[in-house]
Structure formats: C-alpha cells, structure tokens
Amino acid sequence: MVSKTGKPLRAPVRAMSPRVSSGTLHYWFRTKASDPTSLLALGLLVLFLYLIAGPIFLLLSDALRVHFPEQGRTGLPQGAFTSYYLERAMFSPISQAVFWRPLANTAQIAVGAIVVSLVVGAPLGWLLSRTNLPGKRWYSTALIVPYMLPSWTFALAWTTLFSNRTTGGTPSWMESFGFSPPDWLAYGQFPITMILALHYTPFVILLFGNALRQFDAQLEDAARIMGAGRLTIARKIVLPLMLPSLVSACTLIFAKALGDFGVAYILGVPINYNVLATSLFRAISTSQAGMTAVLAGTIVLFGVLSILIDMRLLREAGRFQTIGSKGAMDRTTDLGKWGVAASGWAMFVFIVSAAIPLMALALTTVMIRPGVFTPDNFTLAYWIGSDLGTTALRQGILLTPEFWRATWNSLWIVGSASLGAGFLGLLVGIAVVRAPMRSAGMMLRQITFLPYLVPGIAFAAAYLSMFAVPRGPLPALYGTYMILILAILADQMPFASRAGISAMMQLGKDPEEAARIVGAGWWKRLTAIVIPIQKGALVAGVMLPFISGIKGLSLVVVLAVPGTDLLTTYAIRLVDNGYTQASNAVVLMICLIAFFGTIGVQRLTKSKLSDGLGGK
C-alpha cells in the first residue's frame, strides 16, 4: 500500500538509533510510566507506607528489640534482638496479671458477647426481614441505635445505674433506691459482656436479616413441593445457607470486642479486672515499649485471624449466592396473634439496649443525687450553673471553657482527618481502579486496609512508637494535634479507600475518556469530571469517618494529652475524676452528634447502615 502523496507508509527508521528497543522503550515510557495516575499510585503508596505500614511494622518489631530501660536486665545493647519481652509476658511471675488473665478475660467476654447477641439478634433479624411484625419499619431503625452510639456510653449508663460503694464517687440509682448491687452485677465480666453484646446485637440483626432478605424463597418452595415440612426446611435448607452470615457476624463481633477499650476501662479497671486492651493501655501509660508491643501484637494477631476467617467465609457465601436467583423474596410470614408478643419482645430489647441507658444518662445530668425522684433534686446546674461546690468543676458543663475547647478540638481535628481521609480515599480509588500499574494498585489497596486488622488502641501504640521521636520529614509529634489528625486519618483509611474504590469501580471510564477526546488533560479530567461526579461519594467518604472519629475513644485515649483533649478523652478524664453528671452530659453531646450524623448521612446518601457492614 502506498499513500496518495506517494510517501512510503512505513515511518523511516532512525538509522542512528543504537538499539532496536530504544524507541519501544521510549514508547513504553510515553504510554505507561508517564501516566499521572501511575505517579499518583506511587505517591500514595509511599505516603501510606509511611503513615500505616511503617508504624505497624515498628510496633511489632518493638516486641523483639531491647529498649533503653531493659539494657541492664537483658545485658544487651539497645535495639538488639531479644525474646525478653515475649518471655516476660508469657512465662514470668507477672505474666498471669499482665497477659494470661487479661487474655482469658478477653476471650470469655468475646465469646459471651457473641452468644448473647446471637440469641437476642438472630430472632430479631428474622422478625425484621421475613415477618409482618407490627412497627417493623420503626424497629429497623430503633434497634440499630445502640450501634450508632459509642459502646462505652452504655458502660457509663451502667455505672450510673448499678455502681456500688466499692469504688465511691457519686452514688448510683440502685444505691439511691436503697439496694446495693453486688460486685458481679456492678463491675467486671458480667456488665462488660452484656454491654458489648447489646452494642453488637445490631450486627447480627443487620447481617442475618440481610442474608434472610436476600434468601430466595423459591429455594424453600422447591423443598416444600418435594414434601419437606417447615422444620426440615429451616434445618436443612435455610440454616446451612444462613450459616456464613451468622459466622461472619460472630467473627466481626469477636474482632471488635477484642479491641474495645472504653467499656472494660470504665467497668473493669476500678476492680482491677483487665482485658488485653486495658492491659495494653497500662503498658503504654507506664512507657513499657516492649510489653506494649507484645500485647498489641497479640490483639493484632487475633484480629487478623478473625478477619481471615471472615473473609474465607464470605468467599464461601459468595459461592452460594451465585446459585440463587433473585426470585420471589418478599414473602413474609404472618405472625398472627404472635405479632403482639413479638413486637413486645422487640420493644423490650429496644428499651433495655437504648432507651434505659440513654434516659439514665440524660436524667443523671439534671439530678443532684442520681435516682432520687423528688422535685427539689432536679437542677440544671450541671449544665448551666455556676459556683458549684465541687472541686473538679465549679460551673455547669456548658459554661466550662475546657468543654468548648474539647468540642472545638473534636470538630476540627476529626473534621480535618476525615476530609483528608475522604479525599485520599477517592484518590486511592482512582489509583487502584485506573492506574495502568496493577501491582501498585493492589499494594495500595492492601496497605490502606491494614488498620482494619489493628484495633484502635494497638494502632495508637503503633503511632506512638513511630512518631514519638522524629522520623522522616516529621518532628516528634507526641502531644501535638498533628499526631491525632494523622492517626485518625490513617485509622479511617480502610473505610475511606473502600468507599473510593467502589465509587470509582461504579464509574465507567467513559466520562473521563469522553473528556480526553475533547482535549482535557489529566488534571482537568480529575477536577472537572471525576470529582464533581463523585461529589456524593466524597461527602459520604468524609462524613462516615467523621462520625466514627467523633465517637471513637480507644485510638485517641492514648494519643491525646490534656492540651489536646477531644470530647471523648475529656469525658473519660471526667469519669476518672468521678464527676458523673458532667461526664454524662459530655457523652450525651457525643451521642447526639453521632446519632444525627448517622441519620443525616443515611438521608444524604440514601444508603443503609447495613450496606457498610460485614466486610463488603
């Protein structure tokens, strides 16, 4: 073929080119390596290696390195390899107190919480998804309320109601009613288990309910036509297919209970009942870097194990899902005369798990002596009074500058961290979904997922070991706002990057390519096409980390100092001072922000809380 102008069709090969491949190499560079998306992916990779992988790696390696105070005892120089801390945690005279008993307590609490929340949650999940339960719509929000609020809120409510004279401080309602609760009811394993169970029951309701809702009723029909009875169908068809969702709920609860710090801190520590998280907190606050690393590593190990089990099960569940079609799923069981009883049961769960705790917290803040219902006992002094006769706080909480400073800190610190997480999440989404370098995208996806495996308190420990001394471009950060912002941001990256990745997966390449065709460069496509289209996802990607950051305690309790108090750490400081009314007031404020924030996001994104659950 020869073109009309008579030129040879083939481009004249440059005679001087020394190697045949140099042009091809140049071409590869032009088309792949110079793509800004690849550079973005590499940049993000470096950033998150520094902010996520680095701290976690340092923390774990702390367990095997000699630290300054132990140079004498180990006879080794600082930084040398040692198994001293592992041996000390597991086989020394103190190992019972710092490691084995907390481990056993943690396991018992986790298992207990799982059993209780399954027993309470599974029937409710069925009632909400497959029956004509009266008031179903209302319940499907009301029963999720405990999950929207921080778990330790309920621990505070519990102490408000049940604490006894063992620990002193403001008397509880029970004491005011003239009944002194026994220690097992007031503190330790029983209340911690119950509170975690009630807090995580919504997990079971949502996961099990969703699975039931997606269950194809045709599968039941097929069995019925073959002559199977109701019980046989439930046992042989429904339950086996529901098992993955149930086990998935269990592993999630296990992982969460493992890292939960606040509840055990409020209800366990006063009577010296420790779980791994509180034992870890003690190690951190007494500056035992090696012990901190061993305990944090143990929590991470169990966290990873449970997540791995969960992922495996979800994969198996996925295998089942492909078989069933979305047939007639809306079939509901008529509860008949049992409807009222079932509704009563649901109402009972709501009252116990949400209404009573919140009422107790709220009422306490307007009572001089908690639980005493006489007119002269009610006061607004704890909110707006002045010249109160206490040493901790001399005026109502709304007149206390520290409260407003903590509120402001919470808003701007968590706000900037969530803004950062939301934007970085979208950028991670772009890099993972669009970068021509697949491997960089894969690594990015995994690194940003890492904090999910590390409970907040262990992640905080990791941040201490990374940023308590100057590393890289940053100076020593302990005690600064910066360490809080970075830690909250990094801790929220699993959710933010997941949101970003799924948003970018749903956005086809077409809009960007169309912009390319009309002449838009990479930056223009990002700012004029991708970000405006992803506005909704971005808002959700900022709001969800914001809410979870506002109510989060275990991460910041390690990193915040009195000068950088957030609402949550301020509330805990008030608890430590035994100032019940004020701490309850602060907690109520947090609950309000968390609750309305969650409802607002659901409205805004037209999503359900359940969509964000269960490792989807």
């Binding site: 073929m1 073109s3 009309k4 102008t5 030129k7 069709l9 083939r10 481009a11 090969v13 440059r14 045949v20 140099s22 042009g23 091809t24 190499l25 140049h26 071409y27 032009r30 088309t31 792949k32 086809g508 077409d510 809009p511 390519e513 169309a514 912009a515 390319r516 065709i517 009309v518 002449g519 838009a520 460069g521 223009k524 004029a528 096409i529 405006p532 289209i533 506005k535």
Partner: protein
C-alpha cells in the same frame, strides 16, 4: 482532509492471552464512511480505541494524513487529548453533572474559545441536531435518542475531521434507528468528515457504511463495499457472518459416504467444470429457487434436486422456508408468499452466479473459474 493508515498494528493485553489485534493493515481514505464489523471480541472496538488514543498498540504505526500519531518502534504516541478526533461512545458518556449546553461547550472551553463565540457554536450545533430546547436540562432528564443527539452535538461542536462512533445505533429502538441512520448520513455529507464506526450488527453496517472492514479474531478478513461483502465474501467466515439468515454451507468432504446435499453439490461442480481445491460450497437462502416439482427446469440452470418443505415461518414481509433434502436441513427465504404448504415436495434450483466456493483454508476461489466471474 486526511486519510488514516494503520500499519502492522498489534495489541495484546497480556503475554499469555491471544492478541486482541494482530498485524492489522488498513487504509481509510478521506471521506470514507467505514465500518469495522465483526462478532464481539474480534478486536474492532480495540482498533477504534487505538485510533482514538484510548488504547495503546503494542506494535505498529498509525498515521493520520502526514502526521504520525503512533509509532511503537519510533517512540511516538500522541495522547488522545491531542489527537483532535471526534468520538461518540456507545453509552454516550454524557457528563451527568453538566447540562446539555455545558456538555457541548466543555471542549470549546478547553480550547479557550471566548464565551459568546462558544454559545454561538453550541447553539448552531444543537439546533442542527434539534436539541436546542433541551440546552438547560441534565442528561438524565433526556430520552435515549436525545442523549445520543447530545453526544453527537458535543463531538461535532469541535468540528473534527475524523469522527469515530462506537456502536452508534445499538441502543436505540427500531424507529429511532432509522431516524439516527439518516442523521448520521446527513452529518457525513454536511461535515464532509471521515467517519469510522464499529458495530457487530450487520444491518447497521450495511445501511450506513460506504466501506466495511470485516474482522475476526483480531485479524482483518475483508475490506470492501457492502455489496462486495455480501455478494463476494472473501472467505467462509465473512460469508457466514454476513446475512440475516445464515448462508447454507455444504462441506464436500468429511462423511464416509456422500450425503444427499454433498452429492448434489458434487454434480453441480461437475457442471461447472470441476474446479480444483473446492472444499465447500455456499449459497444464500434467497439464491435457492423453489418451484413445483412438475415445473420444467430452465436449461441454463445447474442440476436441481427435490426437497420437502418442513415448515414455513412468516417473518412479516419475508417467508423463511425450512427444507429437508433426504433428511438434511437447509433454509430458503422468499420475498413473496410461497404457494406451497408443509409436506410438499418441491424442486430446488441454483444458478452458477449465486454459488460461493471456498478452499480448505476457507478462502474464496470463485475467481479462478471463468464461468463464475460474470456476476
């Protein structure tokens, strides 16, 4: 106006997978309305995207006019945003966060056209495509046909010399397809652009294109006018791919004992002077002449054969006739209502010019036979 040349273009997505496009050479002349036709996965869309710059070839050159836009060995790759081509996506790819006007003006804005001028150009294009009344709506407030007009307007506003279309009619219903077909032909005339489009739908290809490039498994099978493609398919693949009712193809070897159809074709080939190397014979359903078995055969015709009508399927305007020749199934189609009924025995006739002969590789060999070249 430039012509487009693709030279030894190759695209592979990974080392292990078969190449999406293999050694493709194609010259598209100035003013062509060229269709890349083929089944899904044949590499046609990849080819279009390589032209647009959305996909990078792994070997070969692409030249537009005198400008080399891709040369793998020469280290040249002009990015899509600098090629100045027009492309309409199959999904239309309208930007959901911009109004129709903003969509149309976006490219002009990028070229720093002043506001007033931009408005004027957009108004002109939108009124040409009869969407000016929707200028302030968002894409999700428009019907599919209107969305496609917006996509066309957005592309035309930049007045590209070369227009690329990805499955331009596939998302439209029957009535809109006709309308849009006329619209595209008008655009081709009025704008005088070279248009390349991709489709798997032969109706779309036949009715729109001035030339069709049939592709299969990453390779170009035939480049020619729609008539060429239909009446002189270059190989067995093209013959079988084109045609709304599949062509009847009878392989001559294979069975130990000749089947009735094989025997018939063998006698036909003897009549044609026994051309060598013929591996299979094809004839389109409409080439089969059906007559009552008592009617006399015309003397010019090739040997005929008796068959039985199994079923008659009216398709509205055409009648598909399922036939059995001693148990072997073939199809015929007529444009007028047949005066036969199921079970009738009828005479099947063929004419030499309607036969397509292929060799063992599936390549057309009619042209070696003088008697068959007079079409």
């Amino acid at each position: 106006m430039p012509s487009i040349r693709l030279l030894h273009i190759e695209k592979s997505y990974s080392r292990s997978a078969p190449k999406a496009v293999e050694d493709l050479n194609l010259e598209i002349e100035d003013g062509d309305f060229l269709c890349l036709l083929g089944p899904s996965g044949c590499g046609k869309t990849t080819t279009l995207r390589m032209l647009a710059g959305l996909e990078d070839p792994t070997a070969g050159d692409i030249q537009i006019g005198d400008r080399m836009i891709v040369s793998v060995s020469g280290g040249i790759c002009v990015p899509a945003e600098k090629r100045g081509l027009g492309l309409v996506f199959q999904s239309y790819a309208l930007w959901p966060h911009m109004t129709v006007r903003e969509n149309v003006e976006f490219g002009l804005k990028l070229h720093n056209m002043p506001r007033d001028e931009r408005h004027a150009v957009a108004d002109e294009v939108m009124s040409k495509l009869a969407i000016v009344q929707y200028a302030d709506r968002y894409p999700n407030q428009l019907s599919g046909g209107q969305q496609q007009r917006v996509a066309l307007a957005r592309m035309l506003a930049l007045k590209p010399d070369i227009i690329l279309l990805d499955e331009p009619l596939s998302n439209l219903d029957a009535k809109l397809r006709l309308e849009m077909r006329a619209e595209l032909k008008r655009i081709h005339r009025e704008f005088g652009a070279t248009i390349v489009f991709v489709t798997h739908d032969q109706w779309e290809a036949m009715t729109l294109a001035s030339k069709i490039a049939v592709m299969s498994a990453g390779e170009l099978q035939q480049l020619g006018t729609p008539d060429d493609i239909y009446q002189r398919p270059a190989n067995r693949f093209v013959a079988e791919f084109v045609g709304s009712l599949p062509i009847n193809v009878i392989a001559l070897s294979g069975a130990e004992k000749a089947t009735p159809l094989q025997a018939w074709m063998a006698s036909v080939l003897v009549e044609l002077g026994s051309p060598v190397n013929v591996e299979c014979v094809g004839f389109r359903p409409e080439a089969l002449k059906l007559s009552h078995c008592d009617a006399a055969a015309s003397s010019q015709d090739l040997p005929d054969r008796l068959g039985t009508i199994i079923d008659i399927l009216p398709t509205g305007g055409n009648w598909i006739i399922e036939l059995s020749v001693d148990g072997e199934q073939i199809f015929a189609i007529t444009g007028s209502a047949p005066d036969f009924a199921s079970g009738d025995t009828i005479r099947l006739g063929l004419q030499a010019r309607d036969l397509h002969l292929f060799d063992a590789d599936g390549t057309r060999i009619n042209d070696v036979q003088p008697v068959l070249t007079q079409v």
